[in-house]
Amino acid sequence: MPIPLIGKLALGVTLATVVVMKDGLIEVNVQEHHKGGDHVHLYLPATVATWGVHLAPQEKLREHLRNHRGDLGIARAALRELEKLPDAALVEVDSPKEHVHVNVRNGNLLVDVEDPGETVHVSMPIRAARKVVEDLERDAPAA
């Protein structure tokens, strides 16, 4: 029995959604406080970040990675450990004018910065970040 077109579409949408959502979402929210300041709030599937590694201009990427292979190893080690953590407030800096908070919650690394100029919130799935770093490290040529 042939599958109707709408069924194929639904199946395609489902598969695409599963592929895109499997690594979670990256959230970036930047609000500038000055008059006419921008407000950028976007959600990106973390899978896009892993694809981005392969879509970036390879020549420039390899050159950049050549110089930072050691840093990638450190980032990978840190992310692997962060991945194991329960929910926790890692850093809290509070003053009357500024607040910086770094938290781990449900496998996401949350960074919140609030100062008189802007409010920034970034949420990133640690697992996806680790995968990106591992991909970059694998692609990095020896120094």
């Binding site: 599958i3 109707p4 709408i6 069924g7 639904a10 199946l11 949408v13 489902t14 959604t17 599963v18 959502m21 499997k22 979670g24 050691g70 190893g73 450190i74 990978r76 080690a77 840190a78 692997r80 450990e81 962060l82 991945e83 194991k84 953590l85 329960p86 929910d87 926790a88 407030a89 890692l90 850093v91 809290e92 800096v93 509070d94 003053s95 009357p96 004018k97 781990v104 919650r105 449900n106 496998g107 996401n108 799935p125 640690i126 697992r127």
Partner: protein, 229 residues
């Protein structure tokens, strides 16, 4: 197209959409749960994270400034994270948890011999310096080195527009002898920070550093909690 076939197509489409919705709902609900479970095998709920029963030790730093800005800093770091990151760094004077010290002679004091001697000695106060501005006391108590420094000169700080404060500075440092031993366990020009961290992580609760003066309160300690409450 006959009516029966159209009807069947509509039913199939509706079934496909329903299945899609169900699959998405299951996947989207399961993903965060699976991630959380993978990230924290021992954590069942956020409320329980303040009393972590696992073996993980956390290094805590608390800084409270009493000046007009009143900054407050809290850092909570699992020792395993610090240990792993330190072990992965091979840059400059850092080499997989070992710090190379250029002037390792430390004014010709053989720290290792000193440590060995103090370790074998009885409890007591080994160094007492009483000066006009500073008092320093170093003593051994059980398996601990206790260092107390009192700076009597104090600092003047501005609390707000109308008030100033001044007072002595007290620094207390507690170091387990085995940790100091591990720190100096390598070559003469090396500090084995990784080994020291390993031994620190065996302590359930340990007050390491306390600094109190008119400007700041600083506290560094280790325990099994993820928070400072």
């Amino acid at each position: 197209m006959p009516a029966s076939q159209t009807k069947r197509t509509v039913w199939l489409a509706a079934l496909a959409i329903a299945a899609t919705a169900l699959l998405l709902a299951v996947l989207l609900r399961a993903a965060p749960v699976a991630q959380a479970a993978q990230a924290a095998p021992g954590a069942t709920a956020p409320a329980q994270t303040s009393s972590n029963s696992s073996a993980e030790r956390w290094l805590h730093v608390a800084v409270d400034c009493k000046n007009e800005n009143g900054e407050r800093v809290r850092v909570n770091l699992p020792i395993s994270l610090a240990r792993t990151v330190l072990a992965s760094i091979q840059k400059g004077k850092l080499d997989h948890g070992i710090v190379h010290v250029e002037n390792a002679r430390m004014n010709d004091v053989d720290v290792r011999a000193l440590l060995k001697a103090v370790k074998a000695a009885q409890d007591g106060e080994y160094v007492t310096v009483e000066g006009k501005d500073t008092n320093v006391r170093v003593r051994k108590q059980g398996n601990m080195f206790l260092i107390h420094v009192e700076d009597k000169t104090g600092k003047h700080i501005k609390l707000d527009r109308h008030h100033e404060s001044s007072g002595p500075e007290n620094v207390d440092i507690r170091v387990p002898i085995e940790v100091a031993d591990a720190l100096f366990s390598g070559a003469p020009d090396e500090l084995n920070v990784g080994a020291a961290l390993d031994l620190l992580s065996r302590h359930d609760h340990l007050e390491l550093v306390s600094v109190q003066d008119s400007e700041n309160n600083v506290r560094v300690w280790i325990d099994t909690k993820t928070t400072q409450d």
